[in-house]
Amino acid sequence: MAVKVSMKVNGKAVSAEVEERTLLVTFIREHLRLTGTHVGCDTAQCGACSVHMNGKVVKACSMVAMQAEGADILTIEGVAAADGTLHPMQAAFKEHHGLQCGFCTPGMVMNAIDFAKGNPNPSEQEIREALDGNLCRCTGYHNIVKSIAAGAKAMAASK
């Protein structure tokens, strides 16, 4: 069965015909061809699919596109400035080597940005606990934690 969905993605109004069962992440990747949001699992645990919906981080694999009807969606492609300058959290990941293969990275960054909004100076333990919805197999988390600590500070400073 086909349904029509409409929403804003990275500031742009989009709409399409999808199946009722079409996941939001599939809509983003296949229909909108925004492939920066990744699929890493099928049990909603890896977090590689994380996007922002109406300002809060959600897992795009865990909802169907219809559930985002009328919502304001931000994907990793919409995070850097229009001229390509990295967001302070992205810049922090780069400076502190918070990524290796890059596959979990968009989800990490999306989660980190939402987390940092309410936590401008998080402790190591707070960051590690905040990452319980994001899996990484490459970095061992050590530098992701450092990146998020630095990124949170930078975000607070740039307000």
Partner: protein
Amino acid sequence: MNAPLIGARLARKEDYRFLTGAGQYTDDVVLQNQSYAAFVRSPHAHATIKSIKADRALKAPGVLAVFTGDDLAAAKVGGLPCGWLITDVNGQPMKEPPHPCLAQGKVRYVGDHVAVVIAETQEQARDAAILVDVDYDVLPAVVDPVNVKKGPALHDVAPDNVCYVWGIGDKAAVDKAFASAAHITKLDLVNNRLVPNAIEPRAANGSYSRSEDSYTLYVSNQNPHVERLLMTAFVLGLPEHKVRVVAPDVGGGFGSKIYLYAEDVVVTWASKRVNRPVKWTADRSEAYLSDAHGRDHVTVAEMAMDKDGKFLAMRVKTTANVGAYLSTFASCVPTILYATLLAGQYTTPLIHCEVTAVFTNTAPVDAYRGAGRPEATYVVERLVEQAARDMKLDPAEIRRRNFIKSFPYQTPVALMYDIGDYNATLDGAQKLGDVAGYAARKKSSEAKGKLRGIGYAAYIEACGIAPSAVAGSLGARAGLFEAGEIRVHPTGSVTVFTGSHSHGQGHETTFAQVVADRLGMPIENVDIVHGDTSKILFGMGTYGSRSLAVGGTAIVKALDKIIAKGKKIAAHLMEAAESDVEYDRGVYKVAGTDKQKLFGEVAFAAYVPHNYPHDKLEPGLNENAFYDPSNFTFPAGTYVCEVEVDQDTGVVKVDRFTAVDDFGKIVNPMIVEGQVHGGLTQGIGQALVEGCHYDATGQLVTGSFMDYAIPRADAVPSYAGDTRATPCTHNPLGVKGCGEAGAIGAPAALMNAITDALGVRDVPMPATPQTVWKILQQKKKAA
């Protein structure tokens, strides 16, 4: 001149695209006229196939085709090859059963490929796959690797389900030493089966072009040229030059993406049949079923010592599970990559190891980060630590008494270590880990009602694989050299084509550091290209911590040729004798004068050769090199781990983890640290939370992230790390490789700490809260 780039903690060039969602992973590629594949997989661990009926599937919406093993057989498609021939203890070749891409007559593990459905959309293919009717006659499953002879034979060629019995060392001499030893320490050890779980699931997109009569395969893979060679020569019978394999951005591999998999072959073959590109992407549950698994050894290990704890001999017997079929490198992992490391960092003069590799109705097992060396280190370092406890010696002291101190050192298990300083890394780890303060921390833990333990692992490994002749003599069916090409452009920038592949290791940055440093140019002027057989001359790919040592050296040798040619050009431009021209990082000088030419001027002259030694030299500045290493490299180090155990819940907290490694010279310390962090976390994962389990009927019980945990950020600490360097003696960079060390040494360090905390001889991996709690309860009862 620019600041030296070797040793610089440069941020990575590749990060921008990954941070902005502009990476291109295999599933991101959608080709014109794309069609999609879904595989029908066996729900049974062991069964004969009575019939496959595709009628309902073929009628489903969007379905283009359904293919089975019969279709592949009719098209004379071969089976998946094994790349390493192991010779058994009787001088006979290992058993090599057929490994069909789609099952022929029989299925041998849950997830085994039975048929493929190709449709217009991913959803249509998956919906239709359910409609393929397969009639099975279920057979009893063989699951326990130590009891394979009791069950039915998986393969006609191996009636007792044994692939080979292999041995190394002088058994008679070892037995003699044991007979007269003052002390023997013995342990039964299980190296638990793991699922690699790169966060990007495997994917493959095969296409055929009628106009060019050629194929292209996009695949999440670590070694595109090897993939192409295996697929064209051994399976599809295609001309190699007519197939292009592209491994674009790959989201982690850890060994699991080395192999030629059935899916890769089937989508390539099918794309010609349906005349459409065919794309397949695993979901995570499918990856659990069908990716090559790792480890899965059952071992009895013994160390014989004199009264002072000097190691006299070691005796090891291992049963290694290879799974239902031989995967590409499966045979060499529990033999050549395992038993040859049993000397560890020690002068143990006599070692014997016997390995029985067996077939079971489980997914194929092959190399996974460390590939044989974690298994070896687990055996050696658990034995050594237990020996210290048995003999009431300090665990660091017993190691010092046995360290190899003079190099090169010929071990009794084939390998010759070129250089090392094991006291330096042990000293470093004890200092950085503040072992002196352990007693106080233990009191502190106990005051909180917790148990505390400390454990060491002094690992060594052999990587930078490998000298081809040596590998060949040990059964390798391929060479293990590496290739690199340096293309200098007329305006002086450089493109480097490398046969290595980066799936997280940062080669685009570290290789550029090596080249830019030598050519005296900003790193922005050097681009590293990898992963495409149509662009790159050749390569054996990335695994076995070989990229910088072997791939990097190929690049250095190509650089040598570039600089040598440049010298001839510079000599001509400066009207000097070639022997008077010196080169240093971007500048050619005439010795004893102030005459100089910059590399950029020389490059330009090569492409605009108006003033040029045409009688001696061709124009252009483009050189390549193939490098075959003369030995393995031998990174080594000491890890120290402290754990705190909650007696009520069995939860183990990794409270401190210190790693001091000798990787030889280091090009980018930040990237090396990242590799260590990642390896340690996978090793801790093996020790604490990961365990792949099949039940008695061969069902994969741990088939998703719900049932198979991988460490999350709160399962591991921040790591304390440092390095010591004894530069590798046989490559110009002096590098040893660092990608696997963490996964190799961490499990032993963890389990030594946990057994120390609990005061027991063995705790099985993974040491989950339930496992630890049960052991604590048993101890209480026994007391």
